[in-house]
């Protein structure tokens, strides 16, 4: 079957296999930022935004995005023009191996859209579903709080 959805602001009309996950579909159409760390919805590396809400694309059936807006990290900013949240992640130092980073940034984006002034504990709680084995999370929390500050200053 073919489905239609909006991927990072652009229309997509694409065939999906029976039972195909959104993760598989997105990687197939070139969105390689969507990472598979477990395939069972436990690590959060495959997080993307569907209608602005974070979902684990590895356990999300692709046909469910029919008619919906999907955002991957590629849709947030580019190499030449990174989003301030992406810059905050580079600035504050939580990008070590970078494998959890796409899911972390998109989950944080969803948080800051809802709550531009979170406490450190609120950030910690919101990111509970995104595992990171490199950083110990401290600098990830720092990055989200820094981005929140920039958002309140009107930088995005």
């Amino acid at each position: 079957m073919k489905i239609y959805f909006e991927l990072n602001g652009k229309p997509q009309y694409v065939g999906v296999g029976p039972g195909e996950s959104l993760l598989s579909l997105l990687r197939r159409v070139g969105m390689k930022s969507v990472k598979e760390g477990c395939g069972t919805g436990e690590c959060g590396a495959c997080t993307v935004l569907v209608e602005g809400r974070p979902v684990r694309s590895c356990i999300f059936f692709a046909p469910k995005v029919q008619g919906k807006r999907v955002t991957t990290l590629e849709g947030l900013g580019t190499l030449d023009n990174p989003h301030p949240l992406q810059l905050a992640f580079v600035e504050a130092g939580p990008v070590q191996c970078g494998f959890c980073t796409p899911g972390m940034i998109l989950t944080s984006y969803a948080l800051l859209e809802r709550n531009p002034n979170p406490t450190a504990d609120e950030v910690r709680e919101y990111l509970v579903g995104n595992l990171c084995r490199c950083t110990g999370y401290k600098k990830i929390i720092d990055a989200v709080l820094l981005a929140a500050e920039w958002k309140r200053e009107g930088r995005w």
Binding site: K35, T40, L79, L87, C97, F99, G129, T135
Partner: protein, 775 residues
């Protein structure tokens, strides 16, 4: 090496942007699996369901009929070449006890066959249709069972090499005495003993093991792999498959974490064998479950430490006995065993009588391998719990006991010479050590003296503080070698080519900073290209906390050579002797006349006009010594005496890594290592059924710390100057993981008076310990 720049340091010691930061934060396709390879087959593995069995027969006829199946490999159709999966320097100190596929399986998860098919579905269907008849053999799962008489022999194959005693299932053994231990204990006023156990735990790097193998336009084999050791992969694949090294290229793109698990050459020879047999590209990407069951783990250890001390607190005699389960094969079994002692015992060099002895034994459980800390984690758990016990018995503050006994700059330990990497080591003097300051700062940050005196209590919650110390090394003495090449571009920028392997640690950035500092350019003017066996010089790879120190020294020396070449050209342009000239901000400046010439002019002239020479140089660095980083750890924990729940309230890690090249990255290493260590303390343990099958194979069942699990963490760097390190630097990647097990155990003891000596400290175990004490 301390170098004279003749100007202030500008790049080293600064938190420059990580060179791969923006690409990673914008999701560029930089990982192994991010490259689409047209026509690639999918490789999948069939694993043993039995812990110990002989394969009587294997029938692939039905599997071969599955549409899309191209190739099936098993013991019957591949060459038998014993090797070790340990990605170590040659000759590897680990036993050659592994072959591609064997007629015998030795643990649940051992590989039986590999399938390459057009689709994943076809490959999985073929796996289901391979018929294997097994003759089940008795299996052994614990160290005690293995060492008991009559235990089944796990490695009875005649062609294995380098096993310490195959008939007794001993992969590796060590017994090193210094002085006279019994006399030492007899002369001691106080004796204590502690035995601590670390179970099977796993690295849990977020990116599973994966590899893509294809042929270039000249028919050479290209292996794009998530590996920490590209050069060792090339050498081992060459030997196992019988193809010359020059026909193989290994590329390490960005890798999603390793922590030692990717210092193992697991998938590469199999994917390469499938590719060679089919003439097609092959991709293998393990599922999380496969990573848990079939890759590598930390070595489970039982370590017993006995200490003898004089009344004044001076350590006099020290015995450490270490027993490990190596699992079904022995990669790193001997070297991790040696490191249990070699990386922990030198910390307390006042003890004159020592003995370090132990064994790593085969069991029918998953294969242990390298894991951050590499034995030191297990050694320090027992050593630092014993030190806490000793302090109590002496009526001394644990802080004072450490301060009195720890090694200092200018001192040595006989252990450096006695214990190396699976063999004797080399004598070494500690040239830099800021541990005393680390201890003092840590004690202050946790509020040690007040909290020690007056422990808090709220209802059923009891609070306590504990501490521990640790060290590690910086590379492997006399073994590790790294090389670097630096080439100037004519616009005055540079290319830095290093075999060094950035596995997320930021080593590409750190090495670029070292080159940039010597060459007086911003980091943006250094284009780093790393970890490609065709285009970068050799490097042993990312392990043993070596990259900043060993690879960093190679970069420093290469940069010095390029600097000399730049100065020679500039001297001709400016008509002044080299001694008058200095490199400053992309120019060469005369210190005498103030005349200057920019790099771009030097580059253009050297390339095209006068010298007609590419300004470039290479350097190799071997590691004559391995300067230890030191760290002190302090924590405050709460223990709920009703439920047994342990909550770490605050954790302070203070480390001396010499001069940090990039403080933020160094802090990140310390924080990350501490949190992995806290995971070991609170949750992590691979559990096995009575048939030896790992039962917690997902992140749901095998819990690693999540963001809300992490306490307040303070990571503090206390700089020393390591005279042999690049710009005074030592390592930082591993030392942090050695602290949490003993520090938290000691804090629990302070809080509730019971010693937790078996990780993880689950509520059940805490309650059991509390009940046992009440009796």
């Amino acid at each position: 090496m301390v170098i004279k720049l003749g100007r202030p340091i500008e790049v080293v010691g600064k938190n420059v942007l990580k060179v791969d930061g923006i690409p990673l934060a914008t999701g560029q396709p930089k990982f192994t699996m991010d490259m689409d390879i047209p026509g690639a087959l999918i490789g999948k593995l069939l694993y043993s369901p039995h812990a110990h069995a002989e394969i009587v027969s294997i029938d692939t006829s039905e599997a071969e009929k599955v549409p899309g199946v191209v190739c099936i490999l098993h013991y019957g159709n591949v060459p038998r070449v014993p090797y070790t999966t340990a990605g170590q320097g040659w000759p590897e100190p680990s036993p050659y006890d592994t072959v591609l596929f064997d007629k015998k399986v030795r643990y649940v998860g051992d590989r039986v066959a590999a399938v390459a098919a057009e689709t994943e579905e076809a490959a999985l269907e073929a796996l289901r249709k391979i018929k294997v008849e097994y003759k089940i053999l008795p299996a052994v799962f614990s160290i005690d069972e293995v060492l008991a008489p009559g235990a089944p022999i796990i490695h009875d194959e005649p062609d294995a090499q380098g096993i310490y005693d195959a008939k007794r299932n001993i992969a590796a053994a060590v017994d090193v005495p210094v002085g006279d231990l019994e006399q030492g204990f007899a002369e001691s006023d106080v004796l204590v003993e502690a035995t601590c156990e670390v179970p099977y735990v796993q690295h849990a790097a977020l990116e599973p093991h994966c590899v893509a193998v294809y042929f270039d336009e000249d028919g050479r084999l290209v292996i794009r792999s998530s590996t920490q050791v590209p050069f060792h992969v090339r050498r081992i694949v060459s030997r196992v498959l019988g193809i010359p090294i020059h026909r193989i290229r290994v590329i390490k793109p960005r890798i999603g974490g390793g922590f030692g698990s990717k210092q193992e050459v697991i998938l590469e020879p199999i994917a390469a064998a499938l590719a060679l047999r089919t003439g097609r590209p092959v991709v293998m990407n393990l599922s999380r479950e496969e990573v848990f069951v079939s890759t590598r783990t930390r070595h489970p250890y039982r370590v017993r430490v006995k200490l003898g001390a004089k009344k004044d607190g001076t350590l006099h005699a020290l015995e450490m006995e270490a027993l490990a389960s190596a699992g079904a094969y022995g990669p790193h079994s001997g070297t991790v065993l040696y490191n249990v002692g070699s990386k922990s015992l030198p910390l307390y060099n006042k003890a004159r009588h020592l003995r370090f002895h132990g064994k790593a034994v085969y069991t029918n459980l998953p294969v242990a391998g390298a894991y951050r800390g590499y034995g030191a984690t297990q050694g320090f758990f027992a050593l630092e719990v014993a030190m806490d016990e000793l302090a109590e018995k002496l009526g001394m503050d644990p802080v004072e006991l450490r301060l009195e006994n720890h090694i200092r700059a200018g001192e040595t330990s006989p252990i450096f010479e006695k214990l190396g990497e699976g063999r004797e080591g080399k004598p070494q003097i500690v040239r830099s050590c800021a541990l005393a300051e680390c201890i003092k700062i840590g004690a202050e940050r946790i509020g040690w003296y007040e909290k020690r005196k007056a422990p808090r209590r709220e209802g059923s919650w009891f609070y306590g503080v504990g501490m521990s110390c640790a060290m590690q090394g910086s590379g492997i003495t006399g073994v590790d070698m790294a090389a670097a090449t630096i080439m100037m571009n004519e616009d005055g920028s540079f290319r830095l080519l290093v075999g060094a392997t950035d596995l997320g640690t930021g080593s590409d950035t750190v090495l670029a900073q070292i080159a940039a500092e010597v060459l007086a350019v911003p980091v943006e003017k250094i284009v780093v290209y790393s970890s490609d066996t065709d285009f970068t010089p050799f490097d042993k790879g990312a392990y043993a906390s070596s990259t900043t120190y060993v690879s960093g020294n190679a970069v420093l020396q290469a940069a010095e050579k390029v600097k000399e070449q730049i100065l020679l050209v500039a001297s001709k342009i400016l008509g002044e002797p080299v001694e008058n000239l200095s490199l400053e901000r992309e120019k060469v400046v005369s210190l005498r006349t103030g005349k200057e010439v920019p790099y771009w002019e030097i580059g253009h002239r050297a390339f095209y006009v006068t010298e007609q020479q590419h300004l470039m140089a290479s350097a190799s660095f071997t590691c004559p010594e391995s300067p230890p980083p030191f760290a002190a750890f302090f924590c405050e924990v709460g223990v709920d005496t009703e439920t047994g729940v342990v909550k770490v309230e605050k954790f302070v890690a203070v480390a001396d890594c010499g001069q940090p090249i990039h403080p933020k990255l160094a802090e990140g290493q310390l924080e990350g290592a501490v949190v992995q260590g806290i995971g070991h303390v609170l949750f992590e343990e691979m559990l096995f059924s009575e048939r030896g099958s790992c039962v917690n194979r997902t992140f749901f069942d095998y819990r690693v710390p999540t963001s809300p699990d992490v306490p307040e963490i303070e990571a503090i760097l206390v700089p020393s100057v390591e005279p042999t390190g690049p710009f005074g630097a030592k390592s930082i990647a591993e030392v942090g993981i050695n602290g949490p097990l003993p520090a938290i155990s000691n804090a629990i003891y302070h809080a509730v008076g019971v010693r937790l000596t078996r990780a993880p400290f689950t509520p059940e175990r805490v309650l059991q310990a509390l009940k046992a004490r009440a009796k």
